[in-house]
């Protein structure tokens, strides 16, 4: 993570060039993170914009030793979690499934991993938003436990425990998804064979 003191000073003074550089550096990865977190491209684009607006408004109130990236990811994560919590509430009221998967995420990566990506995202969608966010930050963005701690406002000890708890939950959900998927593939192959005969 970048912690450039002079850069922070310029940002705090609302220097336009510094802010443009910040947007240039973080816009794509931040949107990507939000996209993976909320599972909706359009929403991720909106939330990323909202994040930058919030950064622009609030950076003047921060302290000099601010870790800018962690702070920005924190704002983005809060927006993402708020959106997910609202979405989960709505889906709970509608008694609907919350496993909608954004197809654009399936194509982001090697083709032979498409199925894994879909299953991974569906499994993460079944988890608590905060647990999913921690896993996204660690596995998706390569943040260390300490950096995640700065983002989500926890000690690295707490992050370590949350990551392992998240991984265990993920493993269970993923295995269930995988077996369901395998069953469906098996049933489909039987149906196809019967049709051929």
């Amino acid at each position: 993570m970048v912690t450039d003191v002079q850069g922070v000073e310029r940002l705090r003074a609302q220097d336009a060039q510094a802010f443009r550089s910040l947007i240039e550096r973080l816009q794509q990865p931040l949107t990507g993170y939000l996209h993976r977190l909320v599972g909706d491209r359009e929403v991720a684009l909106d939330l990323a914009q909202d994040t930058f607006v919030q950064v622009y408004k609030e950076i003047g109130k921060t302290s000099e030793d601010l870790s800018v990236d962690a702070w920005i990811y924190r704002i983005a994560t809060n927006y993402g979690l708020r959106y997910l919590n609202r979405k989960h509430l709505k889906q709970f009221v509608r008694l609907g499934s919350r496993e909608n998967f954004d197809e654009s995420l399936a194509v982001a990566g090697p083709e032979d991993q498409t199925e894994t990506r879909i299953l991974v995202h569906q499994a993460l969608g079944k988890m608590k938003p905060k647990d999913a966010a921690v896993l996204q930050l660690h596995y998706g963005n390569g943040f260390t436990y300490e950096e995640i701690g700065q983002v989500v406002g926890m000690s690295s000890e707490a992050v370590r425990k949350r990551v392992v708890r998240g991984v265990e939950k993920f493993r269970k959900v993923y295995e269930e998804k995988q077996s369901t998927c395998e069953d469906e593939t098996y049933r489909k192959s039987i149906r196809d064979t019967q049709k051929e005969r």
């Binding site: 816009q27 914009q49 009221v93 963005n141």
Partner: protein
């Protein structure tokens, strides 16, 4: 850094790193005991840890697909200039309504407004829940009011008077239904000086209520009863309103004889004035009359409402 390493003992007394430490080890996080963990898994060949280690490696390999995705995710519609302009415009808006309208007019992509609003079913559900709560609260207060002493006074709400008793205390047998009303309804004092009296009815006593009535106080003022117990800071009841006739009424809940205060005096909160009148030798049901020297123990001051500063 992943913090301190924690090792847990198994049934045989052998120590193993806990799962979170193993995962931190798998993920290459900074650990104090990295060497020890490595030796434990690879040299000492701990079966349990090797199994868990392999399991965590496997699940991490699956989750690592997330790490490859940023390389392929692309948002060509994002431009630094557009975002910066949008941010500046949004941040400089002072009038929220005007800002919102301008933003709606200027935005390039349609915002999924449905995602940003609480849906109607949620709002309906919440409204229904609130209505049920209000009805329940109304019923509950109705029950209390029916059983409480009304006596035609402008009575304060019963919920204001909770100072004396511990919340969890169950009434003791000495205050059971057989209690006699020693402190029966007192008639209105004939003088014109502010005065307070015990005015509990039999119904109050069986419900463990010590009702205090005030007379000849300043109409419209708020008066608090100050409960003095030996050895403790005086505690002030929530203020109650004096009615047009100069009367007020407040209730103390007495769960057992030790809760009866030896002294009570009124304090005018509105004019911040104390009165010379003091209520003492308070008798309640069949309880002994408490004395100022602490002949009868009093309630925990922590449960007696606010202290006077």
């Amino acid at each position: 850094m992943a913090g301190n390493t924690w090792w847990i003992s198994d049934k045989d007394g052998k120590k193993h790193p806990e799962d979170s430490i193993l995962l931190a080890y798998v993920r290459g996080q900074q650990l104090k005991d990295r060497l020890r963990i490595s030796r434990h898994i690879n040299v000492e060949q701990c079966q349990h840890c090797r199994y868990k280690y392999n399991e965590l490696v496997q699940v991490s390999v699956t989750l690592d697909v997330l790490g490859q995705m940023p390389l392929y995710q692309d948002y060509p519609e994002l431009s630094v200039d557009d975002t910066f302009t949008y941010v500046q415009r949004a941040a400089n808006k002072h009038n929220p309504l005007q800002g919102y309208l301008e933003w709606v007019g200027n935005r390039q992509r349609p915002r999924k407004s449905a995602m940003r609003l609480i849906s109607l079913p949620v709002a309906f559900g919440l409204a229904l829940f609130l209505v049920v709560l209000v009805v329940l609260a109304a019923q509950l207060s109705g029950v209390l009011r029916m059983s409480g002493p009304l006596q035609g006074h402008t009575s304060p709400s019963q919920s204001n008077s909770t100072a004396i008793i511990p919340h969890q205390t169950t009434p003791t047998p000495d205050l059971a239904l057989t209690a006699t009303a020693n402190a029966a309804l007192t008639s209105t004092p004939t003088g014109s000086k502010p005065d307070i009296k015990v005015c509990s009815t039999h119904a109050d006593i069986v419900q463990f209520r010590l009702v205090i009535c005030g007379y000849h106080f300043e109409p419209g003022h708020k008066v608090s009863l100050v409960v003095v117990s030996p050895g403790y800071e005086p505690a002030m009841q929530d203020p109650v309103m004096v009615n047009k006739q100069g009367k007020f009424q407040d209730t103390l809940y007495i769960s057992n004889c030790s809760n009866i205060p030896p002294y009570i005096f009124p304090y005018d909160v509105t004019s911040q004035k104390s009165y010379s009148t003091t209520l003492e030798n308070i008798s309640f049901a069949s309880c002994p009359v408490p004395t100022a020297t602490g002949g009868v123990a009093v309630a925990n001051p922590g449960l007696m409402g606010r202290s006077i500063e």
